[in-house]
């Protein structure tokens, strides 16, 4: 069977960093086998982690890593949005506040005094918030760090003008497809998988540990029901609180469930 297929032009890609550890950007560099194909398929116009050469905007696609934690970032994300066609937030920081969203649950002044020798030099907002709280986000890739397979899937979907094949269901779906034995049922390990979005490849259950929720809440999570089970498994109230706020504490379902265990 043969048919005519259209050819296409190279889109211009930019990669931006906000408050984050660079791990998600490194996922892009870690695409070893595929990196040349990515570099061949897109024009990398701005990506400080990879190259100091930069081409001015506008950009067809922007990947945004990190959360918004400073007044400067609050302004800068507006500028990134203005210069970008498609804006994709990547990673737990950009989509759910990240680990630094722990500060959302406490007094920031107290934290600054405890951590820094010269608190007077520190200018920070009282919260760490996801990109979607500030500008329109076209697509989100979850995870700490993001999954290489999902990143390639989204880039290739964009390049080919199709819908990315990503799930919003819970991680258990992935465990069962892979045939991983459930660590909670068989091992009594606390696992956030039943309320966490799939996509990581079940890396934690595959190595015998419960899910830490770094992909954030799945569609329609029933966190209170899971918390009751975690309690039965012997988890302290404070441990349940900390589990929900570890990676995705700024995501509503996890934030509320965490607060319910304060």
């Amino acid at each position: 069977m043969t048919a005519q297929v259209p050819t296409r032009k190279k889109p211009r890609l930019a990669v931006w960093k906000f408050s984050s550890c660079d791990g998600c950007q490194l996922t892009l560099l870690d695409c070893e086998d595929e990196l040349l194909a990515v570099a061949g398929a897109v024009e990398i116009a701005y990506f400080l982690e990879a190259t100091r050469a930069r081409i001015d905007g506008p950009y067809d696609v922007s990947l945004v890593e990190g959360s918004v934690t400073t007044a400067e970032e609050k302004e800068r994300i507006l500028d990134v949005r203005r210069q970008s066609g498609v804006l994709i937030a990547i990673g737990a920081c950009a989509t759910a506040g990240g680990i630094q969203a722990l500060k959302n649950f406490t007094s920031v002044d107290g934290l600054i005094r405890a951590v820094y020798a010269h608190p007077e030099y520190i200018a920070t907002l009282s919260t760490s918030t996801p990109i979607r709280d500030h500008v329109k986000v076209d697509f989100e890739l979850r995870g700490c760090p993001i999954s290489k397979a999902q990143l390639l899937e989204v880039v290739s979907a964009l390049l080919n003008g199709r819908k990315p094949a990503l799930v919003n269901a819970g991680l258990c779906l992935e465990c069962k497809r892979k045939g991983i034995v459930c660590v909670m049922v068989a091992g009594g390990e606390p696992c956030l998988g039943p309320v966490t979005q799939a996509g990581c490849g079940s890396v934690c259950p595959a190595s015998g540990r419960g899910c830490f929720g770094c992909f954030g809440p799945k569609e329609g999570p029933n966190a209170p029901a899971l918390s009751r089970r975690l309690t039965e498994l012997g988890l302290e109230r404070s441990a349940i609180r900390d589990l929900y706020r570890g990676f995705s504490g700024s995501a509503e379902a996890f934030r509320e469930e965490s607060k319910a265990h304060d």
Binding site: R162, G220, A225
Partner: protein, 385 residues
């Protein structure tokens, strides 16, 4: 499907542990991909086995709603004293990820290439009676109504099934209630009953197909005497008696007239909507189809992946998701399994294996939910549709 409808026929024979090893060896030598029980990650799962040494000798499972625990009996020798684990044979007959086809860009157009054919035929060692029943259900689902799923039919046609009767009840299963066990009557090539009582360790082997008889003929096994056959009956009856859960015959009617029972709200408050029940169920068959491309746009693939009525995409049609709440997703699962399935396929959708009960992280029990809905009859007006 192969001719396995004949009731267990021909004289039953006796094999020792070595004989069983030789039987697996014959299947391996015959070019089969032999799959059977293995201990991995603290559970009995199904994977490649080459002989008796790979089987879970001495292992016993303790199962309860939401919990599974495997222990090894000191000096235990029995190979099949566990019951069913998290895997089912659908993993092999209806794999979780199936490539349907691949298309490659060629010049100005593209060519569609069929997915690669399966390599060699499958042989399953240790198929429980409830699992034979589940395979029979899938036979109807995938080829019963005249529409044949070629992938399934291809894998199924060649598959050699060595069943094993249950002589110990699992903690959550209830095959007497669904009429599917604990003794296999049909649907196998060979059926084993293990007898291990310290003094002897042997297998009574019944034949269910010509193929099975032919394979067995190569082993020159002596016939089983009346006393052994009586032991098989006694052991399987004892297992049946130990199973307590029930699914009364009128359950389909009860569920269908209680679609607004308040119990659906009650279970929705406990249910995680995690889909584990459907994915471990040996008869659930739902899948989604995903199209992917490579970066260059030179290759496109269409994949079929296991899905579940507990996901939102499952009921997504233009304009939105139909089943938005866990309540309606749970109701879909329970009524499909225990009520509407028989309208659709002329056979029950539940074979009583208990997996959905054990592997539900919060231990929701379908038999208990069905019972509660019955008990709540008359209070239906309090619920909502």
């Amino acid at each position: 499907m192969p001719d396995m409808d004949a009731k267990a026929s021909g004289a039953a024979v006796v094999l020792g542990v070595d004989g069983l090893d030789a039987l697996v060896g014959l299947l391996v030598a015959g070019g089969y991909r032999t799959i059977g029980p293995r201990v991995e990650e603290g559970a009995v799962v199904y994977g490649p086995v080459r002989g008796v040494a790979d089987l879970p000798a001495g292992y016993v499972d303790e199962q309860a709603p939401g919990s599974y625990h495997l222990t090894r009996k000191k000096d235990g020798k029995a190979l099949f004293d566990w019951t069913v684990g998290p895997h089912s044979w659908k993993r092999y007959l209806y794999p979780p990820e199936q490539l349907l086809f691949r298309a490659e860009r060629r010049g100005g157009g593209f060519s569609v290439l069929p997915a690669a054919e399966e390599e060699s035929p499958l042989a399953f060692i240790g198929v429980r009676p409830c699992e034979l029943a589940a395979i029979a259900v899938h036979d109807r689902v995938f080829s019963g109504s005249g529409v044949v799923d070629p992938g399934y039919a291809g894998r199924r046609d060649g598959a050699f099934l060595v069943a094993v009767n249950c002589t110990r009840a699992g903690g959550t299963c209830f095959c007497p209630a669904t009429g599917t066990g604990p003794r296999a009557r049909t649907g196998f090539d060979l059926a084993l009953t293990e007898i291990e009582d310290g003094k002897r360790h042997l297998f009574v082997v019944e034949t269910g197909s010509e193929r099975g008889a032919a394979l067995l003929a190569g082993l020159k096994a002596p016939p089983a005497d009346g006393a052994l056959l009586a032991t098989v009956t006694r052991l399987t009856r004892k297992a049946a008696k130990a199973m307590v859960r029930d699914v009364p015959k009128d359950t389909p009617q009860v569920l269908k007239r209680n679609l607004d029972s308040p119990r659906w709200d009650d279970v929705a408050a406990r249910c995680l909507g995690c889909a584990n029940c459907t994915l471990v169920c040996p008869t659930c068959f739902c899948a989604t189809v995903e199209d992917t491309t490579d970066l260059s746009g030179g290759v496109a693939e269409r994949w079929r992946r296991w899905d579940s009525c507990f996901t939102s995409d499952f009921s997504y049609i233009h304009g939105g998701v139909i089943r938005r709440e866990i309540r309606s997703r749970y109701r879909q699962w329970l009524t499909h399994k225990l009520a509407t399935w028989s309208d659709q396929f002329g056979v029950g959708g539940c074979t009583g294996c208990g997996r959905c009960i054990t592997w539900c992280p919060v231990g929701i029990d379908i038999t208990e939910e069905a019972r509660a809905i019955r008990a709540g009859e008359g209070r239906a007006g309090e619920g909502r549709r």
